[in-house]
Symmetry: C2
Subunit: 215 residues, 2 copies
């Protein structure tokens, strides 16, 4: 990879807390967000193969080398775009806080909220999941993201035997619901309310989280 243009050096960036404290130098972080916004639109609209770092850079009006410095490869850019939408450290963190007995329902609601609020997320997220599943390398990054950012947090919260197995069973049911509801749009799951879905999946997730499972 040849760096051809002028770039903002990432090591020169103010960290998030520092920026918030001083209120100065908002530039690099806003640039990062502009790149991610352009990437979301491109992945969702064009798919993985037809998205290029060069094209994303052009949409965000920055140099392609800057996109590479910030994010690395196209796959890593996709995962950063996904992570910014799903915000596991904040929004999943909120869902994880509280009683284990109703955690399953909260996880269903978390997934639905990520997907459905604001409305625009829905197409973008579906498109990005499609894009990530398009090839084996994309799938590997998606697995690392789901494993490291989602399942790991759930596993830590569970803190009991077979925690990893329990977390991955929960994940399999929730991702299957997302696939049926958003990618395939299979009825009646596509138009069921969040309330109904939490009720339908609740007992399943409760057993996976805390019940007796034979493995």
């Amino acid at each position: 990879m040849t760096v051809t243009g002028p770039t903002a050096a990432p090591k020169g960036l103010a960290s998030e807390p520092e920026r918030r404290r001083t209120g100065r130098r908002p530039g690099p972080s806003r640039t990062r967000e502009q790149i991610l916004a352009a990437a979301r639109v491109s992945f969702a609209r064009n798919g993985f193969d037809a998205t290029s770092i060069r094209g994303v850079a052009a949409s965000a009006k920055v140099d392609p080398a800057l996109v590479r410095r910030f994010f690395g490869s196209k796959e890593q850019l996709l995962i950063a775009a996904l992570s910014g939408t799903m915000r596991p450290s904040e929004r999943l963190g909120e869902a994880l806080a509280g009683d284990l007995g109703t955690l399953g329902e909260r996880l269903v609601r978390y997934m639905l909220e990520v997907w459905e609020h604001p409305r625009a997320n829905r197409e973008v997220l579906t498109g990005m999941i499609r894009a990530a599943a398009t090839n084996a390398r994309g799938a590997r990054f998606l697995r690392d993201f789901i494993g490291g950012e989602i399942l790991k947090r759930l596993e830590t919260k569970l803190d009991r035997p077979e925690a990893r197995l329990r977390a991955s069973l929960v994940g399999s049911q929730i991702v299957g619901l997302a696939f049926y509801r958003y990618v395939l749009e299979v009825e009646p799951l596509a138009s069921a309310t969040p309330e109904q879905l939490a009720g339908l999946l609740g007992p399943t997730l409760r057993r996976y989280l805390t019940g007796s499972i034979t493995a």
Copy 2:
């Protein structure tokens, strides 16, 4: 679409039973299988966008117009290739026969067998699912296939209130397992035995099939 080459007219084909009875004219059916085999390899290896009817025809050594006459569009070719691998009328039919109380376990085993025997199916099927989920039109055909060939059969077997909802809940858990096991390869689900998976998902599917669900 312009038909440019010589084609074998589908109306001239002997039907499957007729061919079996007479033992003559094996040509058209073998040609159809050759096209499907070439399509599977291309969808799995190159994805949906980079697969073309022309390319599949070249691999199968037939005229592109013949592929279009047999299968219609590229999306329909993909669904025909998927259907030939999953064989819902035969293999799912076998799983559906018998006791409702253990149907969930049989459905898990059906899905695993489709995916894992013979070994080669695994990459091809994963690639085809990826290909079908790559764009909205592919997803629509996949939904019609799953709705018409899989869920409809399950719904008929269930013959009870909310049968469609029950069938789609079952489908969501099974497709989620397939996504975690084959597309993402998340552990421990990726290397669990069929026996273990049937035990883990059994109670979930039993409730979806015959238990109390609130909707």
